[in-house]
């Protein structure tokens, strides 16, 4: 599967409280989560996401709490993939576990509005706007297996568990 | 012809004789508002008056949403704080370790006293009748009018007299008495009336028990309720009082009543108000065995030290089977419960303590009920959805019944606690 879309650019240390505030996380309503995603960081996010589905961050994206509602909210809002220099550990696991593609690469030269093209699982992402080709960090095998199944629940259903 | 309590009070306040049915303007000695003060402030500003009629006669407490459980509530508190500062209102109880439920503060801090007129923008303002005051609940816009003018229009009401004899038996509380009265009168049985409680049964009760009784009279529609003031009230006021000298006022012997009823406490059994109306009384034996998910002990009805002590006496050294929430009616009560070991006994027994205030009673936080859950509550209302889900059920009961039921996990007769 290939992802091709425009970029919404954020900085370093995007934490889980701004991705989805604690007051909204105790719900199964995907709509509620989608509606309040990034609310405290970027009031225009829900508008922007209609034009651009790729989020690019700096280092340490998703730091903070272990709330799985953070990647769920972004996925529900329509985010197709997140690129960052580094991700916080729990967010990284959570994103893969719920089937939201995330990729580590050097994001320094990616800007708001750039168009990225990425074949899921490949080791390169192309910035169509600048022509730059960026190396991506491969997923560990276990995470790749989980991701290929579409998430951890599906992985368990298909493989019967660890 | 003699005068009832309320006729006497209004006549005194007006300086002229009034009789039932007259509509007159009276002047309050103290006005009480809680979180709805923010709305009162807004309406007050809309009226266009610069200053409140008397900043020393206005009391404001935060109790319904403390500490604030959302940004909306937090910001609403600010509106009141700013108004309080601007108007120089000195009797203000913020979240700073001294407040509590407004009605508790009125009695505990000695704003309410015999012969005084108390107006509150809360229906349970009638609680202050336990102090011998004429205490009337009104709406919030109305309170803005009082803040602006110092006047309140009232219709001089008919009166009901309830003579109480006998003594409460072990396991039977003042709450059981008032639940029975409301069950008998029904939800509108005292609509627009002033209800007077007297007799040796009332005289034998503590001020705290009288507060439980007066508190709930609005649940049968009363405009106000009052217990005959006595030395017990005077003693409490000697310890702590605001405002000037007060005067004991009581009805004349020859006063005329719409209704007179007699109750004998010796015959009283523990009871509950079944869902979903306060007048849906049943003796405890009828509902014993009903599954319970949550127990709430507290509120302006039964959140005083005596109530917590009664619960602790039953719970000490035992473990509750269902989640049991204790919400003291004021910080002062919490402090006393810490000092005398009541709090430790309750916590040891597995109870959860929340910040003093209205707590779960109003369904705004601190123990909201989920779908299908059953709560035994010492609060004053069991309307559908009152403490959360519309699919939940609330049984109103005494602290003894609540505590004993918490131990069994089903509604249980608290008299067993005193025989076992």
């Amino acid at each position: 599967m290939t992802i091709k879309d425009k970029v919404i650019r954020y900085g370093d240390d995007i934490n889980t409280d701004v991705i989805i505030a604690g007051k909204y996380t105790k719900t199964f309503s995907i709509e509620t989560l989608a509606q309040h995603a990034m609310e405290d960081l970027d009031r225009d996010f829900t508008t922007k996401i209609k034009q651009a589905s790729i989020i690019v961050g700096g280092s340490y994206f998703g730091c903070g709490s272990s709330r799985e509602a953070a990647p769920i909210a972004l996925k529900a809002a329509g985010v197709s993939c997140i690129f960052a220099k580094t991700f916080a550990r729990i967010f990284y696991r959570n994103a893969i576990n719920i089937g939201l593609p995330i990729v580590e690469c050097n994001t320094d030269n990616i800007h708001e509005g750039d168009v990225l093209v990425y074949e899921l699982g490949s080791d390169t992402v192309v910035n169509e706007t600048t022509g730059e080709r960026l190396k991506t960090q491969p997923l560990p095998d276990i995470m790749l297996d989980i991701f290929k199944c579409g998430g951890l629940v599906e992985y368990f259903r298909q493989t019967g568990g660890y | 012809m003699g005068k009832t309590f309320v006729e006497k009070m209004i006549s005194r306040n007006m300086g002229t004789d009034v009789s039932v049915g007259d509509i007159v303007f009276i002047k309050p000695d103290f006005c009480i508002s809680h979180e709805n003060a923010s709305s009162v402030c807004r309406t007050f500003k809309a009226i266009g008056v610069e200053r409140v009629f008397d900043p020393d006669k206005i009391v404001i407490t935060f109790d319904h949403t403390v500490p604030a459980c959302s940004v909306e509530y937090a910001n609403a508190h600010v509106i009141t704080r700013e108004f309080v500062a601007e108007q120089g209102i000195s009797h203000f109880y913020d979240i700073n370790g001294h407040g509590g439920v407004c009605h508790q503060i009125m009695c505990q801090e000695g704003y309410s006293a015999p012969g005084r007129v108390i107006i509150g923008s809360d229906s349970h303002t009638c609680t202050s009748g336990a102090m011998g005051a004429l205490a009337i609940g009104v709406g919030r816009s109305e309170m803005a009018g009082v803040w602006a003018t110092g006047d309140l229009w009232v219709r001089v009401p008919e009166s009901i007299r309830i003579n109480v004899t006998g003594r409460l038996r072990p396991g039977v509380g003042a709450k059981d008495f008032i639940l029975k009265v409301i069950g008998d009168f029904r939800a509108d049985g005292a609509d627009y009336c002033s209800v007077e409680f007297c007799g040796d049964g009332i005289a034998a009760m503590s001020v705290s028990q009288r507060m439980t009784i007066c508190n709930m009279c609005v649940e049968m529609g009363a405009k106000n309720a009052v217990c005959k003031p006595d030395e017990k009230v005077a003693e409490q006021l000697r310890a702590k009082m605001h405002g000037g000298a007060y005067e004991m006022v009581w009805a004349d012997d020859a006063a005329e009543y719409k209704l007179v009823r007699d109750y004998d406490l010796d015959e009283l059994v523990p009871g509950v108000a079944k869902p979903h109306t306060v007048d849906n009384w049943a003796p405890i034996t009828e509902v014993a065995g009903t599954r319970v998910d949550q127990v709430l002990i507290g509120t302006c009805t039964n959140g005083r030290l005596e109530d917590l002590q009664a619960a602790a006496e039953i719970l000490r050294g035992r473990q509750v089977k269902v989640r049991t929430i204790i919400t003291p009616a004021s910080v002062e009560i919490l402090r006393a419960a810490i000092a005398d070991g009541t709090l430790s006994a309750l916590v040891d027994a597995g109870c959860t303590i929340t910040s003093p205030g209205c707590g779960a009673c109003i369904g705004l936080s601190y123990g909201v009920l989920g779908d299908g859950e059953v709560c035994v509550s010492t609060a004053n209302r069991n309307f559908k959805g009152r403490e959360g889900s519309k699919e939940s059920q609330i049984y109103l009961a005494s602290p003894m019944t609540a505590a004993w039921s918490a131990l069994q996990g089903v509604i249980s007769d608290p008299r067993e606690a005193y025989t076992k």
């Binding site: - | 266009g48 509530y73 602006a148 309307f383 559908k384």
Partner: protein, 170 residues
């Protein structure tokens, strides 16, 4: 003055938690927002479909419970023209007067009004008319009528303060 409207019929003891649930009570809402939650605790059909000019017909002890005046404001905000009840709980009655919301006490009219009725209230004659007949009700006391004539307590207070020269000049 005379009003005619489609009615919403309710039973006895409709309390303030039904008319305006507690969860909204301590939110700073506009009257329009209050209107959106009217009767939410009891009747979602009303909350969805009540229209301006409709009239509520209810049994005894309407509005019992809390002192929350939003239980009147929300109805007025929805454009409800009046309430006809067998009796009204004290604080709710006061709040209605203070909001300038007409409340008519007329047990006979309540008893004979069918759920699908349309009724007419003639305030000048003091008569409620429904399919089965005309039923008279007692007029307001003069003091209360004075408040109602001003449109509620706040305008009334403004008016009387103006006359007493106490109101700040805007």
């Amino acid at each position: 003055m005379k009003i005619t409207g489609k009615i919403w019929k309710y039973g006895d003891d409709v309390n303030t938690d039904y008319i305006f649930p507690g969860v909204y009570t301590y939110m700073t809402l506009t009257e329009e927002e209050m209107g959106k939650h009217a009767m939410e605790g009891l009747d979602p059909d009303f909350t969805q479909n009540a229209a301006p000019g409709d009239i509520i017909v209810a049994g005894k002890n309407w509005g019992c419970g809390s002192s929350r005046e939003q239980a009147v404001k929300c109805l007025r905000a929805r454009g409800i023209a009046a309430l006809v009840a067998s009796s009204v709980a004290r604080i709710n009655f006061r709040n209605s007067i203070n909001e300038g919301f007409p409340v008519i006490i007329c047990p006979e009219a309540v008893r004979t009004t069918e759920p699908d009725d349309t009724i007419t209230i003639d305030f000048d004659r003091g008569v409620v008319s429904n399919r089965s007949g005309d039923y008279s009700f007692a007029p307001y006391n003069a003091q209360i009528q004075a408040i109602m004539n001003c449109g509620g307590l706040i305008p009334y207070i403004k008016e009387s303060l103006k006359q007493r020269g106490k109101l700040r000049q805007a």
